[in-house]
Amino acid sequence: MQEVIKVEHMSKSYGNLLAVDNINLSVKRGTVYGLLGANGAGKSTTIECILGTRKGDTGFISVLGYNPRKDRRRLFENVGVQFQESHYQLEIKVSELCEEIACLYKSPADWRELCTKFGIGNKINNAVKSLSGGERQRLFIVLALIPNPELVFLDELTTGLDVKARRVVWKILMDLKKTGITIFLTSHFMDEVEALCDEICILKKGKTVFYGTVEEAKKLTDCEKFEDAYLMLAGEEANANEVFFNTI
């Protein structure tokens, strides 16, 4: 299987704080890859270094065979990105935002079709800010898919969504996976990770503490539920219990 993302010995520090410490990653074509960890574990920094929007201090990064900082324009012809917080012009409408993104690519997907497919086809004349949380997240999946990408980055796509909206997004991602697209995601919901991800990497204070499949994580920690395995590996369990007992 072909490697779509390859990261070797990547480190990044902000002043004295080592945000990412010697990380290695390999994502294979057509898989869903989950990057997990507590807030501040270094997930966003890792994604940003992979995308080239931040410069790593050391290490080798290759995405679709490109160096993301040197070949930015060629790389993003085939990569879709959804950032943790959605960014858009204050008064912009759905149609205008889609049009602005679509026009930047050589052969974009039909954004009207995508909007219809994701259930926001009747909202294209609305202002983006007037959409509900779930609709907005679906719009941002549409935007990430407009390039007809081989690879999409989805950073905490389902944070802030209700249970039903979350399930709708899962369904969309499952369908996407069937088309052969590679998905790199971060998430705080372990049920979601278990349902979607072929491989995961757990970060703790910038270091990789686990690398493999969900099943392997459960076996390694001897846990039945992946959430327990995650908490044990990410070292959040002790803290979580402490907080729990301190509050009662």
């Binding site: 929007t53 012809e77 990105v81 858009y88 204050l90 205008e96 602005e100």
Partner: protein, 247 residues
């Protein structure tokens, strides 16, 4: 080219929806012109002058929109797009930063052009304005003034950390230039000391050039004006490009 036009169309729509530039670059210059016109009518600029006060002020009126676009609109927009991480969104697409900035620049150029046309039409209709000098010379000076002022705006937008600091820097440039460069108050009536300082403003030089070209007056330091504006354009554009940041 297709992507340029689509971006231009949508960004222009957003800009008009915002209304700031419509008010400060299109409506405000006409209001100032109406006031000047009501006060002076078609009287000569001073006793024995071969041109009216309106003709004397035409160049200065045209710089109101240049100031609004170049020193307020453009830098605040660029800083705001950076602060709201809209530029970062564009960073993960194949678009080049130069194309994006050119789109925004073109929008502000359009405002300045529309302002000049509307000022010309109203003054032609109501106060029989006529170009005594050279239209071409006037246009060339207008373009030079606009480019040099916009380059200042690009630099400010590039260097400001967020839209708040951008609007503070912008106010520091906008108001002195609007008041002291001859846009609203004639340069000739200022104390010599002040004249020496404001001579460094691109707008001051631009107004002198436009005035001379419009009225067909001889201008002895045309070379100096062009050099000042050219230098400002080069330095500010250089800094803006060198320090451009998506985020």
């Amino acid at each position: 080219m297709r992507s340029f036009l689509i971006l231009f169309k949508n960004e222009l729509k957003l800009n008009i929806r915002n209304m700031n530039m419509v008010i400060f670059a299109i409506i405000m210059p006409v209001i100032v012109q109406l006031i000047i016109g009501m006060l002076n009518g078609t009287n000569p600029a001073f006793e024995g002058a071969g041109y009216t006060f309106m003709e004397l002020s035409f160049g200065a009126l045209c710089t109101i929109s240049i100031c609004a676009g170049g020193l307020m609109g453009l830098p605040i927009l660029v800083a705001e797009y950076r602060e709201r991480k809209i530029l970062k969104r564009f960073q993960v697409t194949p678009v080049s930063p130069i194309k994006l900035l050119t789109v925004e620049l073109t929008i502000y150029i359009l405002y300045c052009f529309l302002s000049m046309i509307s000022l010309f039409i109203t003054s032609k209709l109501f106060w029989k304005l006529s170009v005594q000098g050279s239209w071409l010379g006037f246009l060339a000076s207008w373009i030079l003034t606009m480019i040099s002022t916009f380059s200042v705006g690009m630099m400010v937008g590039g260097l400001a950390k967020n839209s708040k600091t951008a609007s503070i820097y912008a106010s520091f440039l906008y108001f002195p230039m609007l008041v002291f460069s001859g846009t609203t108050f004639p340069y000739e009536l200022m104390p010599v000391g002040v004249q020496k300082i404001v001579r460094l403003f691109p707008i001051t030089q631009g107004i002198q050039l436009m005035k001379a070209a419009f009225l067909g007056l001889p201008l002895d330091n045309i070379f100096l004006s062009v050099v000042v504006m050219g230098m400002i354009t080069l330095i500010c554009t250089g800094i803006a490009v060198r320090y451009f940041k998506w985020e």
